[in-house]
């Protein structure tokens, strides 16, 4: 994998150059990623906004189709395809970037979700390595790393003297570096070694780890679930902020004559999620919380071969009652 070097000020100039050519999305405030009009608007020091970048490829509201009723004739037409314009997502952390390939396998499982992959193909992910992982991070426990390359097209690792070591990971990354050649300098052995040393150092900085071989089906019966999830208030924070949670609901919106069929995010922690007229298979909140954990660490690996979690820690940081996923995983496997 060839590497480059990018000086600190050059990064800001590179971003301004990118903005001239295409849409650039970066952490804008503590809450979300959004398009920036100039490099100055980027909050790169911001470790992770509350909302993960998943909404760029899997928006919270997406029109699946439009319907119009004329008499008893019904006209269906597809929504306009998502903007086929290229865009650059810059400033994601390796854990958020690693989430994309994890959910790619679901959206491509047998039936391919066209709009999702349309957006994925037009998004270049330029991540920045985590030089100070926070208390709730546990990416190393799920096979990730503060300087992991999974899911990124380019990875910028901040070196000691302030420049960035740039790893070119994918074809999209290479074409970006070639197109904006003027901002980059060649890297050398010393920088490559420094990057590797820094990565080990940051990995060690994450003391709180969970040894995570998948949860066994037997753990489903563990009595610990009820006490662990007792405080859970069934809200949608841990699922909506999670970069890998992808459950959704399909609803028709509009009046009977014309409207849209939309896909909206949904959460397995909501009571209505599996409720039908015939019954509610998960009536109490510990059962719903258990489903969320079993799905991430047992069922998804069994179907997709990947753990449905990148260890970003948002579900721990933003949970209204501070339920800690790491404590749950350790307690369940006892």
């Amino acid at each position: 994998m060839d590497a480059k070097l990018l000086e600190r000020e050059q990064l800001l100039r590179l971003v301004d150059a990118l903005i001239a050519d295409c849409e650039v999305i970066a952490p804008a405030d503590e809450s979300s990623f959004s398009a920036v009009a100039s490099a100055g608007e980027m909050q790169l020091a911001q470790l992770k906004p509350a909302k993960s970048p998943k909404e760029l490829v899997f928006p919270q509201r997406e029109v699946l189709l439009r319907y119009a009723l004329a008499g008893d004739e019904v006209a269906l037409d597809d929504p306009p395809p998502p903007a086929a314009v290229d865009r650059v997502l810059i400033g994601t952390r390796p854990c958020d970037a690693a989430a994309f390939p994890v959910i790619d396998s679901l959206f491509g499982w047998d039936d391919v979700d066209a709009a999702y992959f349309e957006r994925r193909e037009h998004t270049t992910v330029v991540s920045i390595a985590c030089d100070q992982p926070c208390e709730t991070c546990f990416c190393t426990s799920v096979g990730g790393s503060p300087a992991g390359i999974e899911g990124s097209d380019l990875l910028l690792t901040p070196l000691r003297e302030g420049n960035y070591h740039v790893q070119v990971i994918s074809e999209r990354g290479r074409s970006l570096v070639e197109r904006y050649e003027r901002f980059f300098r060649a890297s050398d052995q010393a920088h490559d070694r420094e990057r590797a040393l820094l990565e080990d150092e940051w990995q060690a900085a994450i003391e709180r780890t969970v040894d995570l071989d998948e949860i066994e089906m037997a753990d489903f019966e563990s009595p610990v679930w009820e006490t662990l999830a007792q405080a859970c208030v069934d809200c949608g924070i841990c699922t909506f902020l999670c970069p890998t949670c992808h459950c959704f609901d399909i609803q028709d919106e509009g009046d009977p004559n014309q409207g849209e069929r939309v896909r909206v995010w949904d959460a397995c922690t909501f009571y209505e999620y599996t409720r039908t007229h015939a019954g509610q298979p998960r009536p109490t909140h510990y059962r719903r919380y258990r489903q969320r954990i079993m799905h991430k660490f047992r069922y998804y690996p069994e179907n997709m071969g990947k753990v449905l979690c990148v260890g970003c820690g948002r579900c721990i940081q933003y949970c209204p009652v501070r339920i800690d996923l790491r404590v749950v995983l350790e307690a369940v496997r006892g």
Partner: protein
């Protein structure tokens, strides 16, 4: 790439009122859209009334009696009520067929026992007519079907037809108190009547579908009659939204009911957590 959530348009050809809250809809594809359409008994589809939403229903007719589609819908909620307001000529949407069908090939050469309850007869009806149209490939066919009352029995004309067929042994029942003066069938809950019929587990497959409470006791009766879990096939009713394994709703244990089901053997169900 094709929009996997876009339904085909279908027109309501006929609506039959089966019971006070169950209607059967006969649907035909619009403008010849159904030429390449084929399905297998046990599969389901997402039926939609535009403006109200989508809901999953089993396809109730046999593939041998296509290419139209029939489905029986009980009025319980928003989409089902919208269906019950439809009249012949109205347009609906259909996505599918989805899911794994009944293992009809493995059933060849076996005795078949259909055990249905209430509207649970709909998916069984698809397989039953399918087997009747390939009658020589199966040994004895028995149907044990019951409902709360005579008025709650669905597909009454076909029940008569099956009753008169000599190569189908149909045993109809209504729950105690559900009979009326000219009811000639059995009176009793489906599991008890099943024990009276006492099918032998020798080279036999049981296909059952109905309310969860009925399934529970039917499984007990079958166990008393030494049926192995692999011999019992059922189809699950679970909330589904996409039918394509994406929306996560129908996930129980490692299985996605819309992809790995809705047809499961009881042995497969025993491996899943009790969440259905």
């Amino acid at each position: 790439m094709e929009n996997i959530y876009k339904p085909r348009l279908m027109t309501v050809e006929a609506v039959t009122q089966e019971t006070s809250d169950v209607k059967t809809f006969r649907l035909a594809f619009n403008n010849g859209d159904g030429r390449d359409f084929c399905f297998e008994a046990g599969q389901f589809g997402l039926f939609s009334v535009f403006g109200q939403g989508e809901a999953p229903f089993g396809i109730a007719n046999s593939p041998t009696r296509g290419p139209h589609i029939e489905c029986s819908i009980k009025e319980v909620g928003k989409v089902t009520r919208a269906f019950h307001d439809l009249n012949p000529g109205d347009t609906i949407g259909f996505r599918g067929p989805y899911g794994r069908s009944f293992p009809i090939e493995e059933m060849r050469g076996q005795n078949l026992v259909f055990v249905g309850g209430g509207i649970g007869l709909a998916p069984l009806r698809s397989l039953l007519w399918n087997c009747i149209d390939r009658r020589d490939e199966f040994r004895d066919i028995t149907l044990v079907y019951g409902a709360r009352s005579v008025a709650d029995l669905v597909y009454k004309p076909e029940l008569e037809e099956w009753n008169t067929m000599e190569d189908v042994d149909a045993v109809l029942t209504v729950d105690p108190g559900g009979e009326d003066e000219n009811w000639t069938g059995e009176v009793g809950f489906v599991p008890t009547v099943l024990e009276k019929v006492q099918p032998s587990p020798e080279n036999t497959t049981v296909i059952t579908c109905g309310p969860p409470i009925m399934i529970k006791f039917v499984l007990l009766s079958l166990a008393n009659m030494h049926f192995e879990p692999e011999q019992i096939i059922t189809t699950l009713e679970m909330k589904m939204k996409c039918g394509l394994g994406k929306c996560g709703r129908c996930n129980i244990g490692p299985a996605y009911v819309c992809k790995h089901g809705p047809v499961f053997s009881y042995a497969e169900l025993q491996a899943l957590p009790e969440e259905y």
